[in-house]
Amino acid sequence: MKTTITLKINGETYELSVEPNQTLLDVLREDLALTGSKKGCDLGACGACTVIIEEEPTLSCMTLAIRCQNKEITTIEGLSQNGELHRLQQSAIDHNAVQCGFCTPGWILSAKVLLENNPRPSREEVRRGISGNICRCTGYKKIEEAILAVANQNISS
């Protein structure tokens, strides 16, 4: 039976009608056309569907939309402000940390949570922070460097 829920996504409020068995990922992609969150394994292993719910990195493919009533959700679409990319997004471009791009939204959101909790992480902490995001192209090195560069900006600022 469909239920009406309210989702707060990237600062905007959406009211929509969902079935209990719809995942947040499917609602984002199919109902709201927010296709930045990717469907990889769809079983909670690859991290491509990572979004931030109430400051926690969350697998949207393993989250029922109906359980997100009134929760603050951030997807990759919510990172740039007034046409300006988030520092992590810019750093990903600057360090060539994007190849096919499928894992990128997921690891950028994982890194955002990491830096909010720990603005100056070590390389090991960065690795742990993105360990739930699988990349099959660049091999993590450039991803680490992109995140560490933002962390270093935190040190100098």
């Binding site: 209990p20 909670g44 926690e56 990195p57 969350t58 029922l64 359980r67 993105i130 360990s131 739930g132």
Partner: protein, 337 residues
């Protein structure tokens, strides 16, 4: 992957929750973090008619430090919050380590301590897609008549693979369980039946509300070591938890508990550890304990990674390391003479 259809209920109190679960019996399942359950439902291994959400019940996500009376952890505390909690990090670091050993950062942020204890047993032949299972024919865990993992076996061998249970068993934790009539408290060990098909003893209408961990005695040390293929997103191939309490005035062991995971149908307590009480640990005694654990461990191919034979062989090594580390922490020095 399309989830099966189900109804959804979000009760506001524990009594309402227990009533709903009892009323619907086998048709209902409680959902906490959902990481284990969603995977099973996406593979159509579980097709409940109604999901009862525990996240609307107040006060299940609190951690309370009762000083000498130990720690009370609400069943809905996420593994990430458990690992970040200052009291846990200072006084129960082994619990934080075990929480950080589970799955990935995202799984830790979603998964709860209560849900982790209730994680279903897994097996390479059970946790598969419907198409794969259809080709193989139903096994015992799917009400079939065979075990694909252990050919010719008369029962299900799906393995218990939780990371927190061995640690909580070693710390002698209890779990508080609510039912429609009231609540009870049982030792964590009694949560597990030892049956691969039906691994938990919780009956319909009962949910775990709290985990109670006794305060760490003086001169105690503990460790949890997890063997895994990657450093993330995987089940343990072997997990060893040890907790050692030393005598106050000499180097003898006052108490020792050793619990293993991923090598049996339930978390495995190594009773031979009792024989070390009152003794000063020597290499010979430690070898004997490692040998006893090796004999009790019965890993099967329940997940990807090394062979069951290799995992069984590694029991000796991991037990010795876990006990040595615990002893070092208990005495503040190298403990084996």
């Amino acid at each position: 992957m399309k989830l099966p259809k189900f109804d959804y209920a979000k009760p506001n109190s524990i009594s309402e929750c227990c009533k709903l679960l009892e009323e619907h019996g086998a048709m209902a399942l409680p959902i906490a973090g959902g990481t284990d359950l969603m995977m099973a439902m996406k593979n159509w291994l579980k097709t409940p008619k109604i999901l009862v959400d525990l996240c609307g019940i107040p006060n299940l996500n609190q951690i309370t430090d009762l000083e000498n009376d130990g720690l009370r952890i609400g069943a809905m505390v996420t593994l990430r919050h458990l690992a970040q909690n200052p009291v846990v990090r200072e006084k129960y670091p082994v619990l934080a380590n075990a929480a950080l050993a589970v799955g990935s950062t995202q799984v830790q942020a979603m998964g709860t301590i209560g849900g982790n204890l209730c994680q279903d047993n897994c097996c390479l032949y059970y946790n598969r897609s419907p198409m794969f299972r259809q080709a193989m024919g139903p096994c015992y865990k799917l009400d079939g008549d065979r075990c694909h993992a252990v050919k010719g076996s008369k029962h299900c061998w799906a393995t218990y693979s939780g990371d927190l249970a061995p640690v909580l068993l070693a710390l002698k934790a209890s779990v508080r369980i609510s039912d429609p009539q009231g609540e009870t408290s049982i030792p964590a060990e009694q949560l597990y039946s030892g049956d691969g098909k039906q691994p938990h003893t919780l009956q319909f209408g009962r949910v775990i509300t709290e985990i109670q961990v006794p305060a760490p005695p003086v001169n105690c040390g503990n460790a949890y070591l997890k063997m895994r293929v990657r450093k993330t997103i995987d089940y343990p191939l072997l997990g060893v938890a040890a907790n050692v309490v030393m005598e106050n005035d000499d180097m003898a062991i006052h108490d020792i508990v050793l619990a293993l995971t991923a090598v049996e149908k339930a978390p495995l307590m190594i009773k031979a550890a009792d024989e070390l009480k009152g003794q000063i640990l020597t290499d010979e005694l430690l070898d004997g304990l490692a040998e006893a654990a090796y004999k009790q461990a019965r890993p099967i191919s329940n997940t990807y990674g090394y062979t069951p034979n290799y995992r069984k062989n590694m029991v000796r090594t991991y037990v010795k390391s876990a006990v040595r580390q615990s002893l070092e922490r208990a005495t503040g020095q190298g403990g084996v003479t």
